[in-house]
Amino acid sequence: MKKTQAIFAFLCLFGCATKKPELYVYPSGIVEEKKAEFVQYCEKGKALYKIHCAKCHTTVVNGKEVIPDFTPIQMDAYNMRLGTIKHQATLTERNIPEEELEIVLFFLGHKKPNVPVEEKKKGS
């Protein structure tokens, strides 16, 4: 009995490890061959997010770093380099050039939304 449980648990873990959960929401109609490129671009955005935004925006929930879901209005404001007073000092062309800002916003726009903690509990 215990053995089967252990094998089952192992298989579960193994399954999780091989089938990586999708981190991004693919645009509708994306062709299979372009998916890797799409993910690579998002990953670049994520790396830039870590450089430029994570210091203030990333929160730690249950010991895990969580990138918040920004609203479309927030993202529009960042795109125009506005936002809060603080952004007016930091979100400048000097600090983050147009090309990089574009990639960060692309990443944020295609990142899978976070699952609220309560729902996660219910689900598990």
Binding site: Q40, K44, G45, I51, M80, R81, E93, R94, P97, I103
Partner: protein, 641 residues
């Protein structure tokens, strides 16, 4: 007993809060002045509109009346230019509209498809009035649009910033920059006799704005130093001659405008205010002078390496960038390098060839090699403004079949076949965590980082503005002519003397009618900006270049047709292409003569020589990195042609 105590405590608290939170003075004085001045401007424009409606455009007496009213309305406009220009720059284009060729080149528009923004307002009305055929309806429309735009300045979306003191220092910054770059030059002022009187009037009216501001924001008052300097500036302007050509532009900027700018920047930093307005998009709060190279941000010169601050790493990037700059491995046939055309012993341009050789080694390119010095202070790159970043521009040269003619799929492999490059960029990869491998962007970023460092030097003119360096009489006269009679400064704006004017968010283009040959047989066939954005106004339009180092970077104009500064000045003095008999309908340069005397021309050139920067140039690298591919090791440092 307790009840009374509580009551007293409450009253006491209220009284305390009332006195502590309420600043002494009248918080509404500033906003009230704003609305009242905008209303006065509207009323004056309505009077103008009625005069136009009632007038007969063929009767000289009526035309005189209209001109007079335009002048009165202009005064009111100038009196509030301080606010108008900053608070709603889009609306402002309806009040003091841009000339048609200036409509599409701002930095915010470079990311979208250019669209046509029709200007309106008083300057265009004054110019239109001079046209041989002047339709009354069109004239009225220019003013009606201006009145409608003026009303917009009462809207909440515009006035919501007024109760906060911060915007004031940004309005003032733009005002001071314009004092240095455009207000005294006749830019937007077709009648040269009005320039100095308008300036006096404007500075006087701004003083009124300052006073109201101090009443409303007593805790964030203008400093006594600022007030003193401003009074001195006002006195200076009042005692100067009426004629713009006799006005001492040099000392006005050096002794008053630039020091005022410094003080205003200090306030911005002291109060830690940051602007949310796109007017301040590229301006730097840290700049200590108008002639600081860091005044505004044009281009990201370091590309992917923009976050590198460590001097040692920066030196490594520059070193590898330098090698690449001289390495013909960057061309399809391994025979040409960046240095083939951008010669480091000639200010990174080619002062010998009119236009450089094409890749095929027989034909020539159509445009003169531009100097790489100070290119970073442009928003749009190349003479036709085809590129918005140094990265894109470099990529285009690498792939252009007429220039370096690379096969993009093998270029990177070729470069990385050299161990020295591979090691350098592998080490640098940690500086760009967003990139998982070495890309062409790394290569280009190193090159732009390398050549930008030669753009950080200053010229004697900057030293005269910022430090205690004295310019000679002739040099000062030359600058004063540059700013007035010679009309150079209406296109070449301080501090870079290029086509980027305050608030430094756009690059301007002009149609000059440059000939194909010195004898003016025909117009140069180059369509310029038209190739990028076709429109009647952009045909033969070219981006205004910087005049820094101009005396050392011949030949001149987009096609290198002129070889001396004397020839260039003669070209402008005689009214450009049209002035020399060429057919061109959209020339933006006035086609009549400037009537410059030989001495004046000499003074102008003497002044232009004060813009020669003291750049510490370097000798080329000793040798090129060796490649694993043997055949590549025969390549010659700097290339063969």
């Amino acid at each position: 007993m307790t009840k009374t105590a509580i009551l007293l405590l409450i009253i006491g608290t209220i009284a305390f809060l009332a006195t502590s939170s309420q600043p002494i003075g009248n918080p509404d004085a500033y906003t009230a002045l704003y609305h009242s001045k905008i209303r006065q401007f509207t009323v004056q424009q309505q009077v103008l509109l009625h005069t136009m409606e009632a007038g007969d455009l063929s009767a000289p007496a009526d035309m005189e009346k209209i001109s007079l009213q335009i002048g009165l309305a202009r005064d009111k406009m100038k009196g509030i230019d301080f606010w108008l220009r900053y608070l709603d720059p889009i609306g402002y284009k309806k009040i003091n509209g841009p000339l048609p060729v200036e409509w599409e080149t701002e930095v915010f528009e470079k990311f979208e498809k250019p669209y046509k923004r029709i200007g309106a307002g008083l300057t265009l009305a004054a110019l239109y009035l001079e046209e041989p055929v002047c339709e009354k309806d069109s004239l009225l429309q220019l003013i009606q649009a201006s009145i409608a735009a003026t009303e917009g300045y009462h809207a909440d979306s515009t006035t919501k910033v007024l109760p906060d003191f911060g915007h004031f220092y940004f309005c003032n910054r733009l005002f001071l920059l314009n004092l240095a770059a455009i207000y005294t030059t006749g830019f937007e002022c077709p009648d040269s006799e009005r320039i100095i009187p308008e300036l006096r009037f404007m500075m006087d009216q701004v003083q009124e704005i300052y006073r109201a501001y101090d009443i409303s924001f007593p805790e964030r008052k203008l400093s006594p130093d600022y007030w003193n300097k401003y009074q001195e500036a006002l006195h200076f302007v009042q005692t100067q001659p009426d004629e713009a050509a006799k006005f001492d532009h040099f000392n006005f900027i050096r002794l008053y405008v630039n020091p005022l700018f410094k003080l205003n920047q200090e306030s911005i930093r002291r109060y830690e205010i940051f602007s949310g307005s796109f007017v301040d998009y590229s301006l730097n709060n840290e700049a200590k002078s108008i002639f600081d190279k860091d005044l505004y941000f044009g281009q990201n010169d370091k590309g992917l390496f923009l976050r590198v601050k460590d001097p040692k790493t920066l030196a490594e990037i520059e070193a590898v960038g330098k090698l690449l700059f001289y390495d013909p491995i960057l061309s399809g046939n391994n025979l040409r390098s960046c240095a083939s055309c951008h010669k480091s012993d000639a200010y990174f341009t080619d002062t010998i060839s009119t236009t450089a050789l094409q890749y095929n080694r027989t034909d020539h390119l159509t445009r003169n090699t531009p100097s790489l010095i100070n290119v970073s202070y442009n928003h749009l790159l190349m003479l036709d403004g085809n590129h918005i970043s140094l990265q894109n521009q470099a990529k285009a040269v690498l792939n252009n079949p007429l220039e370096l003619n690379n096969d993009p799929s093998t270029l990177l492999k070729k470069i990385l076949s050299c161990q020295e490059y591979k090691t350098a960029f592998t080490n640098l990869l940690q500086e760009t965590p967003q990139e998982s491998e070495i890309t062409l962007s790394h290569i280009i970023s190193a090159i732009t980082t390398y050549y930008h460092k030669f753009s950080l030097s200053y010229a004697p003119f900057d030293d005269a503005m910022d430090r205690n360096y004295a310019l000679s009489e002739s040099e000062q006269r030359g600058f004063n002519l540059f700013m007035s009679k010679a009309q150079c400064a209406t296109c070449h704006f301080a501090p870079q003397f290029n086509g980027v004017k305050p608030p430094y968010v756009g690059s301007e283009f002009e149609v000059l009618g440059v000939p194909a040959d010195k004898q003016y047989h025909k117009l140069s066939a180059d369509e310029g900006r038209y190739t990028v954005n076709p429109a009647f106004e952009t045909l033969h339009a070219f981006r205004t270049g910087s005049l820094r180092n101009i005396a050392l970077t011949k030949p001149y104009m987009h096609n290198g047709v002129f070889t001396t500064l004397e020839e260039v000045i003669d070209f402008y003095d005689s009214g450009g292409g049209v002035g020399n008999g060429l057919q061109l309908e959209n020339q933006t340069l006035a086609s009549d003569s400037l009537h410059l005397t030989p001495l004046e021309k000499k003074d102008l050139i003497t002044f232009l020589n004060t813009l020669n920067e003291k750049i510490p140039f370097e000798t080329p690298p000793a040798k090129l990195p060796a490649s694993r591919t043997k055949s590549l090791n025969a390549r010659k440092l700097g290339g063969e042609y």
